[in-house]
């Protein structure tokens, strides 16, 4: 198990998960969002696990039966000789918090859920930063999860087997492909000798987040 760190929650990401399109936010709601973010920061016990694999020319991971399907992953890994598989979770404590909130107040539960989504991204970002430092002077690609692009969701099972996720960080995969606890992420990243392009990671990281005319209509520009 790696050192997993939750260092903060991006308000923009929380708002994005809440479906915010730029309308003014009343003070009481702003306070409630802050309170919910604090609750998540207190409650979450993030855990992470990762492993390094050599990448074979046919796109499969050396020593395994796993070859990511589709075009998007090979494109991401085109300069890479190795790939890192990673899994992150906020833990069952957060899951319980979210469930209890649903019994008390659905409104609060929705905000907590959004904040938790932003939190797990923060844990992933921190892990990626640590790995980048650890493997420096080599370069990491963006992280890419099963279900993104044409990387089949069904290949999530391979992560569970190769990382021994259930035993190492206590996350399970149901038959229908749902991870429990739900605030969990699996992803792969390539290691290359040259700098890698980083794409926008969702609207929250864009500088036009608050003023974007696409967002105001519930759309996006296609750069995400």
């Amino acid at each position: 198990m790696a050192d997993a760190k939750l260092t903060g929650i991006s308000r923009k990401e929380t708002l994005q998960y809440l479906g915010w399109l730029g309308s003014p936010i009343p003070d009481e709601l702003e306070d409630e969002i802050s309170r919910c973010e604090s609750r998540i920061l207190e409650t979450a016990r993030p855990r992470a696990v990762w492993r390094l694999f050599d990448l074979l020319p046919d796109g499969s991971l050396a020593g395994t039966q796993f070859r990511p399907d589709g075009q998007d992953v090979p494109a991401l890994l085109k300069d890479c000789s190795q790939v890192i598989l990673m899994a992150v979770t906020l833990g069952s404590e957060t899951e319980r918090l979210l469930r209890t909130a649903q019994a008390r107040s659905m409104g609060e539960a929705v905000i907590l859920d959004a904040a938790a989504g932003a939190a797990v991204e923060n844990v992933c970002d921190n892990l990626c930063r640590d790995l980048e430092a650890q493997f420096s002077p080599r370069f990491l690609t963006d992280r890419f999860s099963p279900g993104y692009g044409d990387f089949p969701f069904s290949q999530q099972r391979a992560f569970f087997d190769l990382l021994d996720i259930t035993r190492r960080i206590g996350v399970s995969l149901t038959d229908s492909g749902l991870m429990l606890p739900q605030k969990s992420v699996t992803a792969l990243m390539g290691l290359a000798d040259t700098p890698q392009e980083h794409r926008h990671r969702g609207c929250a990281s864009c500088r036009l987040f608050e003023t974007c005319s696409f967002r105001k209509e519930g759309k996006h520009c296609g750069a995400v």
Binding site: M1, A2, P26, E28, L29, R45, R47, V49, W50, R51, L52, G91, S92, E93, E95, R96, R99, T100, A103, R104, S105, G107, T166, R167, I169, G170, S172, T174, D175, L180, P181
Partner: protein
């Protein structure tokens, strides 16, 4: 080449036992049926029902029993509920010894949040033969958890750590066989009876460990270990929270249909949300344990009890007290509970002792004994104490430990039988000091029928606490009652430096009186109320709008 068809669990178990036996070169090894997690998550986190998990484990247990396994080992579990299903399956379908080990993190909790104390209390009381830890961590990291577990059970302990922590880049484990054995030796101080190795260990690890243990230098250390056992702690628990019986523990009484029309309606409509809300209220008010009573004529009490227990424990982490006079409902509740419960109640009546005590014994529950019998409630404290002693003896006779018998000396309404208040208090003192048992008492009853009930209730409660009552059954939503308990905890020394008391009363002063809702919301439309998140007002305005709409339609039809 086609893939071979998957073997059934029964075939796999039989083959496994056969292979293990074949490895015996005449040393007389024991072969254990090894049961691990099912791979599906149990309710409430997942969708697999406890009863379904039980059936799956039952299948495996029967296969192992029939294949000739010598014992059953349930291991690498993170979910205490899943362990319980496996333990019940093992004990109800075989006579083999049952060992259980769970997987924990260095924090002292399992991935699903189970605590070491909950594990110790629950599994010991379910009657396993040995328990401990496997996998998760290396020997050094597990030692503190072993030390903690020792405080909660007298049973033999098991320790099967990993060979340290794995290197993420290579996946390899760090400890050598010699390091591993060295790190494990301090565990012997805790009275570990069974040692082994999990991920990353090899036969070499076990061989080296065996040699180190056999060395004469160690036997002196082992003898000393027995005399240093820490005092054992006791209590009841959910999977994630333990109410330790070392002070006043408040039992919340509000989940009970008696005299509550709205609650009775909720039971008939199976409105679990309403019942859970009553539980949450009591938790917020400071209850340590929740009494659960769903007895109402006309409903299926056993089914409702199981459903209610599951609904409560999905959201509230307080231990539960199963309150019923129906043995089937009691059993349904005890089976569904995740953790260790109290049964309320058994009485001095022969039939009650015969039907209810065995259930408590089987499921490891503590039991509340009422000081009444076929002749009703005695009017002297001596006669009540005598019934208490009878209940205790009946419990001891079927193998229940003394500390699992809690006595309720019964509270009678003072306005009807005034001299009985003193008798109850004397009985409490005797039961506590002479019989050495914990006492339970529902105090609200004392003041029934009198004006300003709170004064009488609080005064009686305080006297009872002073006489030795430690498990009061109260309405935690009554500030005066909880204030009295907070005060008592200061005076008894339980609340060190009055910390909780000070926090309770200073935070109460800090909260300003809430603005009455009507003032703040007059003139708002329904849309405004929704956008502002005013739940109560939104509900009221919606109902009014629906009423108005119905009236309009009726008028149009005329």
């Amino acid at each position: 080449m086609s893939k071979p068809a998957a073997a059934s669990s029964i075939e796999l178990v039989k083959a496994g036992v056969r292979c293990a036996r074949a490895a015996d070169r005449g040393e007389g090894i024991l072969v254990a049926l090894d049961i691990g997690p099912l791979g599906q998550i149990l309710e409430p986190l997942g969708t697999l029902r406890f009863e379904e998990a039980y059936e799956l484990f039952r299948e495996i247990v029967i296969a192992g029993r029939d294949a000739g396994a010598d014992l059953i080992v349930i291991e690498t579990m993170s979910d205490l509920y899943e362990v319980k299903a496996a333990v019940l399956a093992a004990k109800e379908n075989s006579c083999l010894p049952v060992w259980t080990t769970m997987t924990f993190e260095a924090s002292g909790r399992s991935f699903v949040g189970a605590t070491v104390s909950a594990m110790g209390l629950t599994l010991s009381s379910l009657g396993v033969d040995a328990l401990g830890f496997n996998c998760s961590l290396g020997p050094k990291e597990l030692l503190p958890l072993v030390h903690e577990l020792r405080r909660w059970t007298d049973l033999p302990l098991i320790l099967k750590p990993n060979a340290g922590l794995p290197d993420p880049a290579t996946g390899e484990y760090r400890l050598t066989p010699e390091d591993f054995a060295e790190e494990l030796l301090p565990a012997l101080q805790e009275g570990i009876a069974y040692l082994g190795g999990c991920c990353g260990t090899t036969p070499d690890f076990i061989r080296v460990l065996h040699e180190r243990l056999a060395s004469p230098a160690l036997s002196g250390g082992q003898a000393a270990a027995g005399s240093e056992k820490p005092p054992r702690k006791d209590g009841v628990c959910s999977a994630t929270n333990t109410a330790v019986f070392d002070g006043v523990r408040v039992i919340g009484e509000r989940i009970n249909p008696t005299g509550k029309k709205r609650f009775q309606q909720a039971l008939r409509e199976q409105d679990l949300d309403y019942i859970v809300a009553r539980g949450l209220e009591q938790q917020d008010a400071g209850a340590d344990i929740l009494d659960v009573n769903v007895g109402l004529p006309g409903i299926d009490e056993p089914a409702m009890m199981a459903r209610t227990v599951k609904a409560l424990q999905a959201v509230i982490d307080l231990p539960l007290q199963i309150d019923s006079s129906n043995p089937e409902a009691i059993e349904a509740g005890l089976r569904a509970v995740n953790g260790r419960a109290i049964v309320n109640s058994v009485s001095g009546k022969a039939e009650s002792l015969e039907t209810i005590l065995p259930l408590c014994r089987k499921y490891g529950a503590k039991v509340v004994g009422l000081c009444l019998d076929e002749n009703g409630i005695p009017e002297t404290w001596q006669a009540r104490a005598a019934i208490a002693a009878r209940i205790l003896n009946a419990a001891l006779k079927i193998g229940m430990p003394k500390e699992d018998v809690l006595i309720d000396c019964l509270t009678l309404t003072v306005s009807v039988q005034q001299n009985q208040a003193a008798e109850t208090l004397k009985a409490v003192r005797h039961v506590r000091e002479t019989l050495g048992l914990h006492t339970v008492l529902g105090v609200s009853n004392i003041s029934f029928g009198l004006p300003a009930r709170e004064n009488i209730t609080v005064s009686f409660l305080t006297q009872a606490l002073s006489a030795g009552l430690d498990l009061p059954i109260v309405n935690p939503n009554q500030d005066a009652v909880m204030d009295a308990i907070a005060s008592y905890r200061v005076l008894s020394g339980e609340d060190r430096d009055s910390e909780a008391y000070i926090h309770r009363f200073t935070s109460r002063e800090a909260v300003p009186k809430a603005v009455p809702a009507a003032e703040a919301t007059s003139g708002l439309s329904l849309t405004d109320c929704i956008l502002r998140g005013l739940r109560g007002e939104t509900a009221r305005m919606t109902e009014k709008a629906l009423d108005d709409e119905c009236r309009q339609r009726r008028l149009r039809r005329l």
